[in-house]
């Protein structure tokens, strides 16, 4: 540990002429903990004042926080320009502050040791969660950082995230129980907007409470592949599902198609409006498109398309088919989804009334047609039952005469289609009126089994 040691790096003074300007990098320590910063002063002594040094070569390993710049005139007539810079390490390890040059002078390099943030055996150094290194343009994916709270009372504060070339959604942070204050996972859902090679860096994070640490992690490389150029921009990218249903809007039945994507959806999915309009036989303007609803927690987007159901629709068979094309980011190719619109019976009200009237007339006709044979069948059934229950032959004769209002059994027999009825009538007459008549009633009943009222 180097403590409070003024390290003046005049090592490179030998490389410049004696009368030339002098540049120095002044630091208090050469060791720093993750979350803390190196307080660096860049001191330039020269005949004229200078601006700021170019510190781009430090930016890979350290986040450079430029503070103030001050100039003063020295007794020698030179001007001293001092700039204060805070360097936040991006990762644990040994790093080198590369040589810098300013106004004809050169200073550095310096070796700096960065140690992890450990308290009470808890390592509070933030770490990237696993994330894809190659994604498709338009694809959504999650990135995250995990860090341990060094004390239960500590809090994590995060700056507003900015990922150049990506759309960002901040996801709810997760707290995982563990030693100390447990682990905190900070996550963001990114949607790649611009193709090419990108460096994504999480926003600055601060752990506050028992101590204060500010973390600037090293950016990660993400390659964003361009989508095949033949895809219209409004083709969704990701993992899309399609659902069709019937719904009512202000009392009118509508077809509603929901497009759900694990990722973003365009303002209007390519082809959906036209297909729905064609299925409903209406114009494209009749299709209403809802705004995209985001479910941040689930990482999904939903959009609903509605169109009034056609005035005439038959409820049988299969409904019109919808086809949605999307770019499957997992497969890396165009994919197609299909869904069928549900059916229902639908007829315009005036026509419905006409159809109802026709149905009533048809029903009445059918009833009228069926009523006559039904009555006939009932009367036959009633006569036969009465004949079976008749006490004697006189009762049988009376029933036969009453069945058709006949004056005699001869008239009854003449009305019967069966020629055997004449013989039967004679036998009944004989049984009723002949002194020799001793016809068996059971035999007569058997003979009258198929009799019909005429």
């Amino acid at each position: 540990m180097v403590s409070r040691v003024l390290v003046l790096t005049g090592l490179l003074l030998a490389s410049v002429p004696a009368a030339a300007a002098v540049l120095a990098i002044v630091v208090d320590e050469l060791q720093v903990e993750m979350g803390k910063y190196l307080d660096v002063r860049i001191v330039y002594d020269g005949e004229v004042g200078v601006g700021r040094a170019d510190l781009r070569q430090w930016a890979d390993d350290f986040f450079v926080d430029r503070r103030d710049t001050a100039s003063e005139s020295l007794v020698s007539g030179e001007i001293r320009t001092t700039e204060r810079v805070r360097l936040y390490p991006r990762d644990v390890g040994d790093w080198v502050l590369e040589r810098i040059a300013l106004g004809g002078a050169v200073a550095g390099p310096l070796r700096v040791e960065v140690t992890p943030t450990v308290r009470d055996g808890i390592d509070g150094t933030p770490r990237w969660l696993p994330a894809p290194q190659q994604v498709w343009q338009g694809q959504s994916f999650e990135v995250g950082v995990e860090l341990a709270l060094l004390h239960p009372s500590n809090q994590i504060a995060v700056e507003e995230p900015e990922f150049a070339g990506f759309d960002v959604q901040t996801l709810p942070r997760e707290q995982v129980a563990g030693p100390g204050g447990g682990q905190v996972r900070l996550r963001w859902r990114l949607t790649a907007r611009e193709k090419g090679d990108h460096q994504i860096a999480p926003p600055a994070m601060e752990q506050r409470g028992r101590g204060r640490w500010r973390f600037h992690l090293r950016p990660r490389a993400v390659q964003v592949l361009p989508l095949p150029s033949y895809l219209p921009p409004s083709v969704p990218v990701g993992e899309v599902t399609l659902h069709a249903e019937m719904t009512e809007v202000e009392g009118e039945p509508h077809w509603q198609v929901s497009v759900l994507n694990r990722g973003q959806l365009p303002e209007s999915v390519y082809g959906m409006r036209s297909m729905l309009a064609a299925a409903a036989g209406s114009s494209v303007d009749a299709v209403s498109v809802s705004s995209v609803e985001l479910d941040v927690a689930a990482g999904t987007s939903v959009q609903r398309y509605r169109v009034p159901v056609p005035a005439w629709l038959a409820g049988w068979g299969t409904g019109p088919q919808l086809e949605l094309r999307y770019f499957d980011a997992d497969q890396g190719r165009l994919a197609t989804l299909q869904a069928r619109l549900p059916l229902m019976w639908r007829v315009p009200p005036p026509f419905a009334y006409v159809l109802l009237a026709i149905a009533v007339v048809m029903l009445a006709t059918v009833v009228k047609i069926l009523l006559r044979p039904a009555r006939r069948w009932l009367s036959i059934r009633h006569l036969r039952r009465s004949l079976r229950g008749a006490a004697d032959v006189h009762a049988i004769r009376r029933l036969l005469l009453d069945s058709g209002g006949h004056v005699s059994l001869g008239a009854w027999a003449a009305a019967q289609p069966d020629g055997a009825a004449v013989d039967l009538a004679e036998r009944i007459n004989a049984a009723c009126f002949s002194p020799r008549g001793s016809q068996d009633v059971a035999t007569l009943r058997e003979a009258l089994r198929v009799v019909r009222p005429v």
Partner: protein, 592 residues
């Protein structure tokens, strides 16, 4: 199209058969009355009628009617001289905003609008005067209303080359300009404003246009007709032939806003037509102009299309069939007679076009006549046509055209194999345009879709290699720049430079004290000086720089044509004194 008659009096002749029919009826009636008791007549007449052939009589009647129609001489006007119809004026207001470059109609919205106008002007009635106003960020009047068809056609054909100096959608200003152009026109036939746009203006411009249309058109008694160009689905707006328009990282998409266009036309009782619904319509029909009333005295001044041949032919065929009865071969004879008559009479002088473009296009492609093949395939739809068009464009090294055609083919492909072929060729096109990352992606997809893995692997490897080379080159440039900056900062400032800087320090008073300069490094100052020198050398330092002279040159430049002239003049109209390389964005206005 109104039908006229050469000799309408011949229709009276069609009534002639009624006279013999009446005479026959009366004669039969008197005979029956003499021969049969009235109470027995129904039975006797019914028996007698069974021998008659009613169908034959009806056919003869129809034949007679058709022949009388032919004698009356049906015809339609092909060319009506100006003196025969009233004068009308129309201003075509054409949207030339960036969204009109979208390619959801072929070849794109802007050129589709141009082609529509060109067709209309080609068959423009001489009584109709037409002018042209274009707009994007500002509106410009290209042509006041004129009846000179050739002049209008010339301006319409230049539309594609005209580059407006500003971006945006100032339709309101265009309506003002158009109504002012029409205000002075003395037109008994009416004043019309024909707006050709995709309606994709943005909310602010739409509101401004809605205000303007109510303010300018009704008072000038101008009737509004709106023609919507574009598709119902959102498509990408291209910035160039090969690059999409991307603003603030967002790829800009556009679709025809038919709902707004219809509502917009409805605000002043105008009418709205989707472009695809009025294909083949003459301009007079689009504008709802009444058909010209041709006085019989003017018949000789009109050029007619005669249509008497059609009823004549039909009449003869029906007559022959009816007179032949049910004899075998009567139909064939009738057809032969009709054909003979058609040949002898020369039909009705109507030109018949035979569409055999498919075979011709294929033959042209096979024979290597790619220009002709491209032209023929461009007029056809479907995957095969787009693919063949792409091949023709690629062979002609017209890569933007090939890009569009292969992309359309890949999207319209009926199956994966076809899509793979289109994607592979699309990859080749991107490769030739230097877009190696896109080419690599397409080669990979083509491999998944059934194109030979060896072929796609070779091409992909080549594309990846070149993409890596480009990246390395760009990285080298950046690294070289960084090292140069470092070396410049590490070197002692030359004395002469210090003098310059000393002079420069005096400028610090402009930045409220020396502190402003203290934050500028020597490198930054030297960079500023270098930029100043560069700016001066490029002549971008301002036209007011003293001592500038025009140097006489022996070199000649090709004439720029009307569009080139307008491209120089239109910026001046809006106060831009130089010709901008790219159109200017207007603060607060949507740039597409």
């Amino acid at each position: 199209m109104i039908l006229y008659w050469r000799e309408p009096a011949w229709f009276w002749v069609s009534l002639l058969p009624l006279l013999p029919m009446l005479w026959t009826f009366l004669r039969h009636r008197s005979i029956w009355m003499r021969m049969v008791d009235p109470s027995l007549r129904p039975w006797v007449e019914a028996q007698a009628r069974q021998g008659h052939h009613k169908t034959g009589q009806v056919a003869l009647g129809i034949s007679w009617l058709l022949l009388c129609t032919a004698l009356a001489g049906p015809r339609t006007p092909r060319l009506i001289p100006p003196a025969v119809q009233p004068d009308a004026a129309v201003i075509a207001v054409v949207d030339l905003s960036a969204s009109m470059a979208a390619r959801d109609v072929r070849p794109d919205r802007r050129r589709h609008a141009q082609a529509m106008l060109d067709d209309w002007v080609a068959q423009l009635p001489a009584s109709l005067r037409i002018g042209v106003v274009v707009y994007a960020g500002h509106a410009h009047r290209l042509l006041p209303p004129t009846a000179d068809q050739e002049l209008v056609r010339h301006f319409v054909r230049e539309l594609d080359s005209i580059r407006l100096p500003t971006l945006g959608n100032d339709l309101g200003d265009a309506l003002r300009l158009a109504s002012e152009s029409l205000a002075g026109a003395d037109t008994p036939g009416g004043r019309h404003l024909l707006l050709i746009s995709d309606g994709d203006l943005g909310p602010d411009a739409q509101r401004a246009a809605e205000t303007a249309v109510g303010e300018w058109l009704p008072s000038a008694r101008i009737r509004l007709h709106v023609v919507g160009v574009g598709g119902a689905e959102a498509v990408g707006v291209p910035r160039t032939a090969t690059e999409p328009l991307v603003i603030d990282g967002e790829r800009i998409v556009s679709r025809r806003d038919a709902r707004w266009l219809r509502a917009f036309a409805g605000r002043v009782d105008g009418d709205y037509h989707p472009a695809e619904a009025i294909v083949g319509w003459p301009l007079g029909r689009v504008l709802g102009l009444p058909g010209p009333h041709i006085d019989p005295a003017d018949n000789d001044r009109v050029l007619w299309d005669e249509w008497f041949g059609l009823p004549l032919l039909a009449g003869i065929v029906i007559f022959v069939m009816a007179s032949s009865g049910k004899r075998a071969g009567s139909g064939a004879r009738a057809t032969a007679v009709a054909a003979l008559i058609a040949v002898l009479s020369g039909g009705c002088g109507r030109e018949v076009l035979v569409d055999a473009s498919g075979d011709q296009a294929r033959a042209a492609l096979d024979l290597g006549d790619y220009t002709r093949a491209r032209s023929l395939y461009a007029g056809r739809d479907g995957y095969d046509a787009r693919f063949a068009e792409g091949v023709a464009c690629y062979r002609l090294a017209d890569f933007p055209c090939a890009l569009q055609a292969f992309a359309a083919a890949a999207w319209q492909a009926p199956d994966d194999t076809a899509r793979g072929r289109a994607a592979f060729n699309l990859g080749n096109t991107h490769f030739r345009l230097g877009d190696f990352e896109e080419a690599s992606v397409l080669f990979a997809e083509a491999g998944k879709l059934g194109v030979s893995p060896e072929l796609t692997a070779i091409n992909r490897e080549f594309a990846d290699s070149l993409a890596a080379t480009v990246r390395r080159h760009l990285a080298d440039v950046a690294e070289t720049q960084r090292r140069a900056d470092w070396r410049a900062a590490a070197r002692e400032m030359p004395e002469v430079m210090r003098d310059r800087l000393a002079e420069g320090i005096r400028l610090s008073t402009r930045f409220a004290g020396p502190a402003a300069l203290a934050v500028l490094s020597a490198d930054e100052l030297s960079l500023l000086v270098a930029r100043g020198i560069e700016r001066h050398r490029d002549g971008r330092g301002g036209a007011s720089a003293p001592g500038r002279h025009w140097v006489k040159s022996e070199g000649t430049v090709a004439p720029e044509g009307t569009a080139g002239l307008f491209n120089r003049l239109l910026p001046m109209e809006v106060g831009i004194l130089s010709v901008p390389g790219e159109p200017y964005r207007i603060e607060g206005s949507r740039p597409w």
